[in-house]
Subunit: 201 residues, 2 copies
DNA sequence: GTATTAACTGGCCGGCCGGTCAATAATCGC
DNA sequence: GCGATTATTGACCGGCCGGCCAGTTAATAC
């Protein structure tokens, strides 16, 4: 058999606890989740969670840190495989980000919780990512492919925030009159956003 | 004196409890706030809160409902005093909404909590507001003042979501390299948004 | 092999949680 | 005025909270 019944694997255990934490915390928020729930969900005792992480708070921090790092490396990989900057590729990047959030709703919720907590650590890793994205926009501006009278960082921020809020506030606007599907909204947003960024004559 | 020491005013008491609830819940979230904190902050006993609202959950619902109604009436008033639709007035509306959120950060946090709870009630009142806004955009489209190949509801949603997320995720993006002030961002967003909405030639 | 360390368990703790209840005091209908 | 109603209090409840601790078992170092 692959797993002996009484074999210990502390790495695996830590991972199981973090995965349980990720699921419960992201779904219900830090303070709604109890150590008993975490223990039950991870299949370990409360004491073992304390042994590995010290406290509920430190487990939450470990969960967030792991999630941010995974997010960061995924996004960095997406950014690196993007080619030379131009308007079409900007559109493709927006769509890629939108699809990423669509496929990973837990990322959106994680951000929302950390924003409400006022936690700045989510933005620190992101700074590199945004720096690279803004540089990418700046090059396109210099080549005359995008209008150059807007701050490149604001260009990145605009589409990142729109995509994030679209999924974060789904329950808010999903029944608004005339509201379309994910795809329909993305299409309209891209129309406005990309044409708004064309060089001024 | 304006207030007798031992005079009862149940309306005023309900209000004090709701205001304490609004402040604490919006700041820390429903499950982090305890009845004892609420009671202390409102200057009443826990039992009195139960007497007036029945339970912690129902107090939270009352707080949200009151806040949504105030939000709705404020926004409706803003919408009604807006004049005939055109691109400049759309810009003014975006700015008005942005300034409203800037001046009322508790509204932003309230929306964020309700979104995480999956509460749809915030969107129901809004539906009217958005319906009116979308109609306003539609008229501008018919007059050839705005491009007509985008869904009017998506136009409203785009700027509402951008403004909301700007303030909601402030702690996330405030230290991004090159990120400007509230005003600088708003200016750039308006450039992109309004030019992206001009009629296609 | 054996001593040391680390993983892991179960039971327990003080404290606070949301909520209840009986008693009291102010207000209101008449 | 006076009885019914309702606002308000403080004492109290069972239960669960996060965390601790003593003890046991597995892995590791030598």
């Amino acid at each position: 058999m692959t797993n002996q019944t009484t074999t210990r694997d502390p790495e695996q255990t830590r991972l199981r606890i973090m995965e349980a934490g990720a699921e419960l915390f992201v779904e219900h928020g830090f303070s709604s989740v109890t150590m008993s729930q975490l223990a039950k969900s991870a299949g370990v005792t409360k004491s073992l969670i304390h042994h590995h992480f010290g406290s509920k708070e430190r487990l939450w921090e470990a969960v967030k840190e792991r999630a941010f790092e995974r997010y960061f490396s995924t996004q960095m990989a997406m950014l690196e495989e993007a080619g030379e900057p131009d308007a079409a590729l900007l559109g493709a990047s927006v769509e890629a980000y939108f699809r990423f959030l669509q496929a990973n709703p837990e990322v959106v919720r994680l951000f929302a919780w950390t924003h409400l907590e006022g936690d700045t650590s989510c933005g620190e890793l992101d700074a590199q990512l945004v720096g690279a994205g803004a540089e990418w926009v700046r090059q396109a501006q210099q080549r005359g492919l995008l209008r150059d009278d807007v701050n490149p960082t604001h260009v990145i921020a605009t589409f990142v925030m729109t995509c994030t809020q679209w999924f974060e506030a789904k329950c808010h606007h999903q029944h608004w009159p005339g509201m379309g599907s994910d795809d329909a909204f993305l299409e309209d947003f891209l129309r406005i956003f990309l044409e708004g960024l064309l060089p001024r004559r």
